[in-house]
């Protein structure tokens, strides 16, 4: 009775310590993430002068947004890129399964090789692929020429540009996804495979009946991250299409312009920051909607043990 306040005091002190520990992260998040988001949301209702100073314009930016053909086009390009980018997930699963085979030699060598693009600067990756894709002097077309194929100007041809970009996107993210899948696969109990092989299931059957369902939660995580990342695509396009003004002179630009690129152009090229804020808020909404949708759909394909 008399020491009833003890535990309460103790837990309060504990809570205070807890807050103290999360304060650095929490403050950082509030100042550098939350506050800019709120500001951006506010700016999306304003018109900006090129050197700061803004006036409230209500929904003007959003009505303009709805009627802007470039917005529709940028959203469509971004969604196509995002959808095609999901093809990277099966690729990563297959490679992860191959690397996960017991007794495989040189595993760490392979893992390093796959992970290398992930730790390489995106700008360097884009520059490199730009040269590979060059229509006249690129390695890809020189190899194709050996077998008698006259390859296109991969990133300047509207028919191929977006797909060329998707290949680079998958190539540079497959290593990251693969590591996550490997971790997921190594968490699958060995007994399941032992039981399956006792019942006479072969490697392929085991892969489809055990590995795939068991890594589906991992696949769900990867798809969420990958979709969000793809929707924010910027650096690859920025470097590969020809940065700054030159990008618009790329004949394939109408197929390559992404939402974030449009945001960049409005904010930093044509001095239209209020509108740029509206563009990026629209992207935020798009990301939120697609993420909710994915959570809704997960019941249909994700197996939690």
């Amino acid at each position: 009775m008399s020491d009833g306040g003890g535990p309460a005091r103790g837990s309060r002190a504990e809570a205070l310590w807890g807050y103290a520990f999360i304060a650095p992260t929490g403050l950082g998040l509030a100042i550098f993430y939350l506050w800019p988001v709120l500001q951006t949301a506010y700016f999306s209702f304003t018109e900006w002068g090129p050197f700061g100073g803004h006036t409230w314009t209500g929904l003007a930016n959003y009505t303009r947004l709805l009627g802007d053909p470039e917005v529709g086009r940028a959203v469509l390009n971004t969604l196509t890129y995002t959808a095609l980018g999901l093809l990277g997930i099966p690729v990563a699963i297959v490679f992860a399964a191959l690397l996960n085979r017991p007794g495989l030699r040189g595993v760490s060598l392979y893992r390093t090789a796959f992970f290398l693009p992930v730790v390489t600067m995106p700008v360097a990756v884009a520059m490199l692929w730009r040269w590979l894709y060059n229509g006249d002097y690129g390695l890809i077309n020189q190899v194709l020429a050996v077998v008698g194929i006259d390859g296109p100007n991969w990133i300047a041809d509207p028919a191929t540009a977006l797909y060329a970009l998707v290949v680079v996107g998958i190539w540079s993210s497959v290593g990251y996804n693969l590591i996550i899948f490997l971790a997921g696969m190594q968490a699958i109990p060995k007994e399941l495979y032992e039981a399956a092989s006792m019942d006479g299931a072969g490697r392929v059957r085991q892969f489809f009946r055990i590995t795939l369902p068991m890594v589906s939660p991992t696949a769900f995580f990867v798809s969420i991250v990958s979709v969000i990342g793809s929707l924010q695509l910027f650096d690859l396009v920025f470097v590969m299409t020809g940065s700054g003004k030159a990008a618009r002179a790329n004949p394939a630009y109408t197929r390559l312009q992404t939402v974030v690129q449009l945001f960049y152009e409005r904010a930093f090229v044509t001095n239209d920051r209020g509108y740029a804020a509206a563009v990026v808020i629209a992207l935020l909404v798009l990301i939120a909607v697609l993420t909710v949708l994915q959570f809704r759909l997960q019941r249909r394909w994700v197996h939690y043990v």
């Binding site: 998040l29 550098f32 993430y33 939350l34 800019p36 988001v37 951006t40 002068g49 090129p50 050197f51 700061g52 894709y133 060059n134 229509g135 006249d136 002097y137 690129g138 296109p152 100007n153 990133i155 300047a156 041809d157 969420i224 969000i228 924010q232 020809g242 940065s243 700054g244 003004k245 030159a246 618009r248 002179a249 790329n250 004949p251 394939a252 630009y253 974030v260 152009e265 904010a267 930093f268 090229v269 044509t270 001095n271 239209d272 990026v280 992207l283 935020l284 990301i287 939120a288 993420t291 909710v292 959570f295």
Partner: protein, 417 residues
């Protein structure tokens, strides 16, 4: 899930915010108690950083209480950073200005007009006009550039084509272009570059008798049939396969093609001297000729000016420095090591630096040069130029229609200024 979506977007915003604010650091450092003043001087060209430091040192000799800190920001980030710095009240005291950005800065009052009466007849008139807004001069021209046709003598010799004469015309140019094109060797006459209006389209537009923007800066000239003639000059070359198509030029820029011996001619500026003088291929194979004459002779003239921030804490000292940079003494120093100085009568050192080339061409063309076309928000319609003309360059849309669409879009943008 809300958290993940929001934090992802937040990350993006924060990153952009951070990059926009990165420029805030370069504030002009203040005066000390002894009346010593340090001025910050913003420049974008790394190759001129050394000569800018020399000039700053020279200035300090005559003004011992003022030191100048030369701050280099690479071209690609210069204007983004400058806008952020100005917004944050941290612009350099004195900085380089160019034509396309000038009116934006002057009309928003972020650079200071020159109060003192000075003799502007020592600079090319086109440049003085370029940096005059609302009747007031805001900057003193530092250097200047004009455009010429750089040509590959080896390819001209191989095709047995005479080198361009000083008075050659569009007809002469087209004849030469047809003779120089050699599909078997992958050699084109010229690259109809879309991204550099200063060296390509603007020149032919004025040569054809057209215009880009009306003198009052309110109307686009792209609907004018003569302007369209100036554009067709280039689309015709692409159609005749005397220029690589736009896809090829997107992959490999005309400059690279010229330096690989794949283009016989390259429309380039006086600033290309440094590039062609050091490139092993072009070093002893190229020379330069004036632009061919259309209905009239024209070349675009542009130049950088030194301007003062309106918010500088040391307006008197900043003006002293700008005045020094605009003097014949500073121009003399610049001409030996850098671009063509804007100060008349000091340009000969620049010509003499490369006696093997007819660099006098660039100076002679000042007589008929046209100022780089600008308005208050030049960047906005420069984007429209690319958006619409890309379709004409690929052949997707006839050049007349692309130009008409561009004129409409540009007029809308000009109305918003």
């Amino acid at each position: 899930m809300w958290k993940s979506a929001r934090s992802a977007a937040a990350l993006l915003c924060a990153a952009l915010l951070a990059s926009a604010c990165g420029g805030g650091e370069q504030a002009g450092a203040g005066a000390t108690a002894q009346g010593k003043v340090t001025l910050s001087y913003g420049v974008w060209d790394a190759t001129q950083q050394a000569v800018m430091r020399d000039l700053a040192a020279e200035f300090t000799k005559s003004h011992p209480n003022i030191t100048v800190d030369v701050q280099l920001t690479p071209w690609v980030d210069y204007w983004t950073k400058m806008k952020a710095a100005v917004s944050g009240g941290a612009a350099p005291d004195v900085f380089w200005m160019n034509g396309p950005n000038f009116q934006l800065y002057a009309s928003n009052g972020v650079i200071a007009p020159i109060g003192e009466r000075i003799d502007t007849s020592v600079y090319p008139k086109a440049l003085v006009d370029l940096y005059t807004y609302d009747g007031k001069l805001y900057g003193l021209p530092k250097d200047m550039d004009t455009v010429g046709v750089w040509y590959n003598k080896t390819l001209f010799d191989a095709a047995k084509v005479d080198y361009p004469a000083d008075d050659w015309t569009w007809a002469d140019f087209r004849r030469a272009a047809a003779a120089l094109t050699d599909p078997d060797k992958g050699v084109y006459a010229v690259g109809a570059q879309l991204t550099s209006f200063q060296e390509y389209q603007y020149n032919t537009i004025y040569q054809a008798g057209g215009y880009v923007i009306s003198p009052d800066g309110k109307q686009s000239g792209y609907a004018d049939p003569k302007t369209i003639e100036g554009l067709r000059f280039w689309t015709d070359l692409i159609a005749a396969k005397q220029s690589p198509d736009l896809k090829t030029m997107t992959d490999t820029a005309p400059l690279q093609l010229f330096e690989a011996g794949k283009l016989a001619m390259y429309w380039g500026g006086s600033w290309n001297v440094a590039e062609f003088g050091t490139n092993d291929y072009t070093k002893d194979k190229v020379d330069v000729a004036p632009l061919p004459k259309g209905e009239k002779q024209a070349t675009i003239i542009h130049g950088v000016a030194n301007v003062m921030s309106a918010k500088t804490e040391h307006p008197a000292e900043a003006w002293e420095f700008v005045k020094f940079l605009g003097s014949g003494q500073a121009a003399g120093l610049l001409g030996k090591k850098g671009p063509i100085p804007a100060y008349n009568g000091t340009q000969q050192d620049w010509v003499r630096a490369h006696p093997e080339w007819k660099l006098q061409t660039f100076l002679d063309s000042v007589a008929y040069a046209v100022p780089y076309p600008v308005s208050k928000n030049t960047a906005a319609w420069q984007e429209a130029e690319l958006t619409h003309l890309t379709k004409a360059w690929t052949g997707e849309t006839p050049v007349e229609r692309a130009a008409a669409d561009l004129a409409a879009g540009m007029n809308d943008l000009l109305a918003e200024e």
